[in-house]
Amino acid sequence: MANSFNDKDDMIVDAVNKYADTVRKISFVFLKNKADVEDVFQEVFLKLLLYEGVFDSEDHKKAWLCKITINKCKDLCKSFWRKNTYSIDDYEIPVTDKIEGELIEEVRALAPKYKEVIYLYYYEGYDVPQIAKLLNQKENTTYSNLRRAREQLKNKLGGTDYEHDV
């Protein structure tokens, strides 16, 4: 009995240490205050630990975790209360200069459907078919969302500094 408790504790610590940064990065793109981030952490890891299915691989597990985290963040963003209130205990944004600050602010200001494709495409390195599968979308929808997200960033950030990269 004691062993089983220890095993469970180890599993919890292991899961949190392994995926906490991924969950934190996604929640950083979507959310702005500590309380929301903590909610997402608790729900995502609880879901992971209660998951009874079998992951084919580590990549599969990570993709599943990304999908769950994005969905949880989007659910929170939909909440009327959170849409209409502002927290004063925001995390600090880890930027070194004004350009970085502008870029991350504009990405965070995008609509959730654009944020998710930007994050998965640019940071996680998934291609469009993979993103479409992960988000249960048609590939054309993913392409459209990615193109529109780029256009919006280009319009807001101005100039051509980011254009070729995007």
Binding site: A20, F28, V29, V37, E43, D75, P94, E100, L103, V166
Partner: protein, 341 residues
């Protein structure tokens, strides 16, 4: 942009405090009995929320539907059509017929096999008259009286209902080329309740009450099953009785032709027949105050012939020959003069 974006996100790492809080929460939660976890999951279930939303929407839609239906099915006024069959139709706030009830056996006979629900008022009345005519309740000699009585406390609505019903009656009359007398009236809903308690249509009750006002011996039980036309005849007959006082009018009418007519005795008879109906019409006209309208069909050759039965009562007061003796004195002097000669 992607490199800068990646650089920024690389710097984002889960804070130790966040990790330790999450681990503490998970340990605490996972050690609770499984039922608690199930509850937790159920509480957060999006499906449950959706189901709840659907259930709420269903309740709202059902409530609105019920409210709309009950409003539609609630009568705001009634219209009583009395010939001999007495029928009452219930009308809702949208001027649609929602019920029809026969007040007597003939009324039920007329309604048998007919459904007037959702009909417009004029259409329902037209069909009602049509069926009554087909079943022989409307005499072809023009003696039938159709009483239309609106039953509502709203004067404007009462007028509207009466006009719509009249339109319905006239439609059938024009089509079937028959002559009837339309008697329009209105009663309050309180009178309707009173009539229902007496198992009589409000229109007929109003007529009997009118009869009682001039003939205190008349009882409701006596006229309950009478035709509207019979009650109307009785009212007219009683109203005519006190007419002996009218002689004051007759001389007035007769006087006017006298000066011109005197020379030609033949001519004096013609104007009398034309002139006499006028004073006799007028005494009957009290009926007109009660909105009595004689409706004749389209003015065709046949139509012009049919109205004749009506004027008959007007001609009845033949007592007017009384003035005829007046010309007699004029010829007498003529006879006398030759004698003298």
């Amino acid at each position: 942009m992607n490199t800068m974006f990646n650089t920024i996100l690389d710097r984002v790492v889960a804070e130790d405090e966040l990790k330790s809080n999450t681990i503490a929460y998970l340990k605490e939660t996972l050690q609770t009995p499984k039922c608690n976890l199930v509850k937790f999951k159920a509480k957060k279930s999006v499906q449950t929320r959706k189901l709840l939303l659907i259930a709420c929407s269903f309740v709202i839609v059902a409530g609105l539907t019920f409210f709309g239906y009950s409003t539609y099915q609630t009568p705001v006024a009634y219209l009583s059509i009395d010939i001999n069959p007495s029928v009452e139709i219930g009308i809702n706030a949208f001027d649609r017929v929602i019920s029809a009830e026969g007040y007597n056996v003939d009324g039920q006979t007329v309604l048998a096999g007919c459904n007037f629900e959702n009909f417009e008022i004029a259409d329902a009345v037209a069909q009602l008259i049509d069926v009554s005519a087909a079943k022989g309740f409307i005499a072809k000699d023009g003696s039938t009286v159709i009483s239309i009585t609106s039953e509502t406390d709203d004067a404007a609505l009462a007028g509207k209902l009466e006009n719509l019903a009249e339109t319905g009656v006239k439609t059938v009359i024009a089509k079937d080329k028959i002559v009837v007398v339309i008697q329009k009236d209105r009663v309050s809903l309180a009178t309707r309740t009173e009539a229902r308690n007496l198992s009589i249509s409000p229109g007929k009750l109003k007529l009997i009450q009118r009869l009682q006002s001039i003939d205190p011996n008349a009882t409701i039980a006596q006229y309950k099953d009478s035709k509207v036309s019979d009650i109307m005849k009785q009212i007219k007959a009683i109203k005519k009785q006190p007419r002996p006082a009218t002689p004051t009018m007759e001389p007035n009418i007769i006087k006017t032709p006298e000066p011109k007519v005197k020379p030609t005795p033949k001519a004096s008879t013609k104007p009398r027949t034309k002139a006499t109906p006028e004073p006799k019409d007028k005494p009957i006209k009290p009926g007109k105050e009660d909105k009595e309208i004689v409706v004749t069909p389209v003015p065709t050759a046949e139509a012009t012939a049919t109205p004749k039965p009506h004027p008959t009562p007007k001609v009845k007061p033949t007592p007017k020959p009384k003035p005829t003796p007046k010309p007699k004195p004029t010829p007498k002097p003529k006879k006398d003069t030759p004698g003298k000669n």
